[in-house]
């Protein structure tokens, strides 16, 4: 038990102050380390939303008629075809045979897989060669300047 006296009391007081300081700064620092991430979190990131079911495949005018373009849809390649009549079609570009990436052949006006000569027509149906199933088909809409491909879940 401390004997009350001016010097011991002062040292006790200053010890109290140090402890209060330590506690205060520790709590303050910890609060900052929680508030800071939370504040940065609520500010939206540059890409404002996750877009899994639609993607801008191309700009209008970017792709000539009777031409195709490979674009990324989610985690897989996809094919946008601009037909001679001006309409657009979009398909999964993963060949249903052995998963090579298909391409549009302007000369054949069909979709062709270079790996084993598989052919799909413009509906995506497998019409020749090894592919056993049609290509998955996506919807295409024009939104302003963008050619947008969408798919269901």
């Amino acid at each position: 038990m401390e004997t009350p006296g001016p010097t011991s009391r002062d040292s006790v007081q200053s010890r109290r102050r140090w402890i209060n300081l330590l506690l205060g700064s520790g709590v303050a620092a910890s609060i900052i380390s929680f508030i800071y991430p939370a504040l940065r979190y609520i500010i939206p990131p540059p890409v404002a939303e996750s877009a899994s079911n639609f993607v801008v495949a191309a700009k209008v005018g970017e792709l000539k008629n009777n031409n195709g373009k490979i674009f990324r849809f989610g985690s897989e390649p996809a094919l946008l075809v601009h037909l001679a009549d001006g309409s657009y079609r979009a398909f999964s570009a993963v060949c249903t045979h052995l998963s090579c990436t298909v391409q549009y052949r302007s000369d054949l006006r069909e979709i062709w897989c270079a790996c084993h000569n598989g052919l799909y027509n413009l509906e995506g149906r497998n019409v020749n060669g090894p592919p056993p199933r049609p290509l998955a088909r996506y919807e295409v809409h024009i939104q302003g300047d963008d050619v947008v491909a969408t798919r269901a879940a």
Binding site: R16, S25, H116, N117
Partner: protein
Amino acid sequence: MTKSIIFVALLFLSLRAAVAAPPKDTCITCHAALGGDLAKPASQFEVDVHHQAGLSCADCHGGDPSDDSMNAMSHAKGFRGAPKKNQIPEFCARCHSDAAYMHRFNPQMRVDQLSEYLTSVHGKRLKQGDTKVAACVDCHGVHNILAVSDTRAPVYPTNVASTCARCHADPAYMKGFDIPTNQFALYEKSVHAQTLAGGDTSAPTCSTCHGNHGATPPGVSSVANVCGTCHVMNEQLFEKSPHQAAFAKMGLPGCVQCHSNHEIVRPTDAWVGTGPQSVCTTCHTPGDKGYGAAQAMLADLTHLDSSLTRAAEVLNVAERAGMEVSGPKVELAGAHEDLVKARVDVHTFDAAAVGKLTDSGVEIAAKSYQAGVAALRERDYRRKGLGLALIAIVLAIGGLYLKIRQMESGDSIGHRGDVERKAREV
């Protein structure tokens, strides 16, 4: 009254029996009763596709199936008997080359099997009197013929090779013919055989390249066309390459020269270049243009391959550390595609073309690698942040602990007194 009922009942039953009974086929009934080898055709015929189509023994062999006596098999009744080996093709072709007749059963059925067969080695030799060669029944069966689409049929794609091998892989049987007997063994090792066994019926088997009825090995100059029906890119590039003319001049078979004909295995990058497994050094020697091109192509392929591996490794490390790297992994797949395309472009034998593709792939792989490195840096940033937060927390805990001790140790006008005081109050 009862009498009429009985009469009607008997009439009804006999009518039923008469209607239900199939038409009399004495061929089947007699042969089945004979037992042993003579009964085999009768029992086998159950599954036969001709039987399913409503045909009977007599439709091929002639005779009268309604006749109970041995007369059923008389010349008078049109009996043709069992054909001799060299008569078999015409025997089957009596119907199978008759378009009008066949199209009653299957409008799309081909009717040129006999004419094709006569162009084949088998057909030609049979005409010369060689009875060891294959005729219709050797591949299709005799009395238990199944449709080609039936998985049990000897000519279903997955069974074709073993059907051909029954003769062609039997050295004792093939004695006297001047051809090897190891094709089946070699084919089994091939990537085509493994793909086919894996369920991909688009993979080639013997008849795909040799033809089925008009079976003839493709000639030296036409091998590339055969391979090129599926491997279009490789064939087209090869045709435009300097090797096309060179091989033709030397009488070398295009694809087969490097890839073999039956033992077509998955090629490795080491086949290019000038190492021990290289196919280029079969002809090329140090100092010639081809030798240099081979070295350059191998160097590019290896460079891209190792860039891919490096990027994949760092991404895997990042992923295991809990970082989300599915985006860069997808990008890396694009580089992998470039590698596949570069390997196809080897068939141009043009180092510059191959180099262009590998350069593009290397660029993508480098980007993915950077993404992986960035992910690892983010991981370290998080751990540093964690460290700082933990320091703050330790400070706070330390401060709390000291505060508690100070309050309760009675060194001041602290709250220690409160503890005892409040206990008394309660």
